[in-house]
C-alpha cells in the first residue's frame, strides 16, 4: 500500500443503498466505461466514503448530484476513479486474460506469423505505469522461449505519460504488494528478494521490455507506434472523455496487426466508443480484434 494512503476503517463508511449503488454504477459506466460488479459494492462504499469526506457530501444521493454537476463533476470523477483504481497495478493482475492469451491467442498469432516466416512479436502496454503488465508478459513469453518462441524476436514496449513511473519500471524493483498475485513459480524464478519486501526483477526479464514516455493524445507520436500483435490498455481510457477515447482507440485499431488483439482492463467496456473492433469472448473476459 502506498504511504500516502490511510488504512481504511470499513465499519465507519456509510452504507450505500441498492438504488444509490445502481445509480452511481450506471453513471460511472456511462461516462467512464468501467462496470462495478455487485460484489464490489462494499469496496465502492468504502472508497466513496473518502470522497464524500473530501467533498463534504453528507449522503450518497448528494454525492451523486455533486459528481454529475457540469462544473465540478468531471474533476471529482477523476478523483473517485483514482480512489478506485489505485493499488490495482500488480504482476499477474488479470489471470483469465493471461490464461486466454497463453492458451489461445498467443499460439494462434504465432501460428499465423510463423506461416509467413515473420518471426517477430510486438507487444504494447499502453499506460504501463511502473511496468508490471509489460514484465508479466515478458515472463510468460520467456517461458515459451525454448519451444513456441524459439528464434523469435520479442519486443515489449511500455509507455506512460508519467516519467516517474517509467523510471521505476526501468529500475525493476518492487514491493510485496506488487508481487501479491505472482505465482510462486514465477516469483522464485524471476525475482530476487533482496531484503524483506523488496523484490528485484531479473535482468533477463528486464531486457525484454523498453519503456518510453508517450502521451496517448499525441496524434503524431501515436502514428509511429506501428504493427503490434497485442496491445494492452487497462484502466487508462476510463479517464478520457468520449471523443478522446474514440480517437485514442482508433489509433490502437490502426496500430494493431490485422490478426492482433486489443485488451482493456477487467471491468472495462468499449461499447459505444468504436464500432470497428469485434468482441471475442473467452472464459472470464473478452478482448477485441479487427
Amino acid at each position: 500500500m502506498p504511504l500516502d494512503m490511510k488504512p481504511f476503517d470499513a465499519k465507519s463508511a456509510p452504507k450505500i443503498s441498492d438504488k444509490d449503488f445502481e445509480q452511481l454504477r450506471d453513471y460511472i459506466y456511462n461516462v467512464c466505461g468501467i462496470y462495478f460488479h455487485s460484489s464490489k459494492k462494499y469496496f465502492l462504499e468504502s472508497r466513496l466514503a473518502r470522497r464524500m469526506e473530501g467533498t463534504g457530501c453528507k449522503t450518497h444521493a448528494d454525492y451523486y448530484q455533486f459528481v454529475r454537476s457540469p462544473a465540478t463533476g468531471r474533476s471529482e470523477l477523476t478523483k473517485l476513479l483514482d480512489e478506485i483504481t489505485t493499488n490495482e497495478t500488480c504482476f499477474f493482475r488479470n489471470m483469465p486474460q493471461l490464461n486466454a492469451l497463453e492458451n489461445k491467442f498467443l499460439p494462434e498469432i504465432i501460428g499465423t506469423k510463423g506461416k509467413i516466416g515473420f518471426k517477430k512479436l510486438r507487444i504494447w502496454s499502453a499506460g504501463s505505469s511502473s511496468g508490471e503488465e509489460a514484465y508479466t508478459m515478458a515472463m510468460i513469453l520467456l517461458e515459451k522461449r525454448a519451444t513456441l518462441l524459439k528464434d523469435w524476436i520479442i519486443e515489449i514496449v511500455g509507455t506512460d505519460i508519467n516519467e516517474t513511473v517509467l523510471a521505476q519500471a526501468r529500475e525493476g524493483v518492487y514491493n510485496s504488494y506488487s508481487v501479491r498475485n505472482t505465482p510462486d513459480y514465477y516469483l522464485k524464478k524471476y525475482f530476487k528478494e533482496e531484503s524483506p519486501g523488496r523484490f528485484l526483477l531479473s535482468p533477463e526479464v528486464k531486457k525484454l521490455a523498453t519503456f518510453n514516455q508517450l502521451n496517448l493524445y499525441d496524434d503524431n507520436k501515436m502514428l509511429f507506434m506501428k504493427s503490434f500483435d497485442f496491445i494492452f490498455c487497462a484502466n487508462v481510457l476510463i479517464y478520457f472523455d468520449t471523443s478522446s477515447k474514440s480517437k485514442v482507440v482508433q489509433h490502437f485499431y490502426n496500430n494493431l496487426q490485422p490478426y492482433g488483439y486489443f485488451f482493456v482492463g477487467q471491468s472495462e467496456s468499449l461499447h459505444g466508443v468504436n464500432d470497428k473492433f469485434k468482441t471475442v469472448h473467452f472464459p472470464g473476459g473478452f478482448t477485441y480484434n479487427k
Binding site: H37, S38, S39, A100, N103, T279, H281, P283, F286
Partner: protein, 303 residues
C-alpha cells in the same frame, strides 16, 4: 461427421445404458400443463402438494436469492401467490428433475451440471426478454434441460470422457466437437434420444438436439438460437461445468447471433460488454439457488 451416423450411435448407446432413469411423473404432468390454456392455479398447487419432497424443494428454492422474497415463504400456497402461476411451473418442473440426475456424478459433478443448466435457463430467459420472444418461460425451461445428454454421456462413458478431457488440457476446445471425435456421437444426439424417450414436446427435443446447430432448426430456430447463445455466454462467465469447458467465440461470427439479429433488429444495439458484466452479477445467485436445491431434502448433499 455424418449426423445420421451420430444419431444411430446415440440410439444404440442410449439403449445400452443400464438403469437409465425414467422421467418423473410430476415432470410429465408439468409438461402437459405447460401449453394448456386455462389451467387452474389449484391444479398446479395440488400437483406440487401431492409430492412432499417436491413441495419442500419448491419452498427452499423460492427462498433462494434468485427469487428474493422479502420475508421467508413457508408454504406452497404463499410461494404460488408470490411467484405467480407461470413461475411456479418453472420451479415445479425444475425441482421434479433433481432426483433424475442424483448420483450420476461421473466425470462432472452433478452440481456443476445444475449450475450450468440453471445458468443457461436464466440467461435464455434474459435473452428471450431482450428479443421479445413471446414465451420467456419456455426459453427458461428448455435452457435448463438443454444439456441432459451431457450428464448421461459423461456418466456412462467415463473412460472415453476422461481421455477426451486429458487430450485437451490447456487448450481451447468445444466439447461437442471433441465428443464426436472420441465417442462417435455427442451430448446433443444422446440428449435428443432421451428427450424422445421421455416424450418431451417437439420444440424441446429440437433445442436439445440442435443447441449447437441452431441454423438447422425448423420448428423454432429463434428458441434454438437463444439457448445456443445463453450456453456460450455461460461457458465464458463461470457457469462452465466447473471450468471443464474452454470456449472462445466471436459473437459476430456466431450463427445464433445472425438468427436473433434477423428476429430482433434492436439487438444490434446490445451492449455486449455490459451484458457480460451483469451476467457475472447473477452468478452468485445461480450458485446459491443450486445449493438450495441440494440442501437437506431428498437429494444427497454433494461433497
Amino acid at each position: 461427421m455424418d449426423k445420421a451416423a451420430m444419431m444411430q450411435t446415440a440410439q444404440e448407446m442410449v439403449e445400452s445404458f443400464v438403469d437409465l432413469p425414467t422421467i418423473p411423473h410430476v415432470a410429465t404432468r408439468v409438461i402437459e400443463l405447460l401449453d394448456r390454456p386455462g389451467v387452474e392455479l389449484d391444479e398446479v398447487a395440488d400437483m406440487i402438494l401431492a409430492d412432499q419432497v417436491l413441495a419442500a424443494r419448491v419452498i427452499k428454492m423460492v427462498n433462494s436469492p434468485l427469487y428474493k422474497p422479502a420475508n421467508e415463504i413457508k408454504s406452497v400456497k404463499r410461494a404460488l401467490i408470490y411467484l405467480g402461476f407461470r413461475h411456479i411451473r418453472e420451479l415445479a418442473f425444475t425441482c421434479s428433475f433433481v432426483d433424475v440426475f442424483e448420483g450420476r456424478d461421473g466425470i462432472f459433478d452433478v452440481r456443476t451440471f445444475w449450475e450450468h443448466s440453471f445458468g443457461v435457463g436464466v440467461v435464455s430467459k434474459i435473452i428471450a426478454q431482450r428479443v421479445r420472444y413471446p414465451d420467456t418461460e419456455k426459453a427458461y425451461l428448455v435452457g435448463i434441460v438443454h444439456d441432459i445428454g451431457e450428464v448421461f454421456l459423461s456418466y456412462y462413458r467415463q473412460d472415453a470422457f476422461r481421455a477426451l478431457l486429458e487430450s485437451v488440457k490447456g487448450q481451447p476446445f468445444r466439447l461437442v466437437e471433441k465428443e464426436a471425435e472420441y465417442l462417435g456421437t455427442s451430448h446433443s444426439e444422446i440428449g435428443l434420444c432421451i428427450a424422445r424417450k421421455w416424450n418431451f414436446p417437439a420444440e424441446y427435443c429440437e433445442v436439445i438436439g440442435l443447441h449447437h446447430d441452431p441454423e438447422q432448426a425448423v420448428l423454432d430456430p429463434t428458441l434454438c438460437a437463444i439457448v445456443n447463445l445463453a450456453d456460450l455466454f455461460c461457458s465464458v462467465r463461470q457457469l462452465d461445468y466447473g471450468g471443464n469447458s474452454w470456449v472462445t467465440f466471436n459473437l459476430a461470427e456466431e450463427k445464433a447471433w445472425a438468427i436473433l439479429r434477423a428476429y430482433a433488429p434492436n439487438l444490434a444495439d446490445l451492449d455486449v460488454e455490459r451484458f457480460c458484466y451483469e451476467l457475472d452479477d447473477r452468478v452468485p445467485e445461480i450458485l446459491d439457488m443450486v445449493k438450495s436445491i441440494f440442501q437437506g431434502i431428498g437429494a444427497k448433499e454433494p461433497s
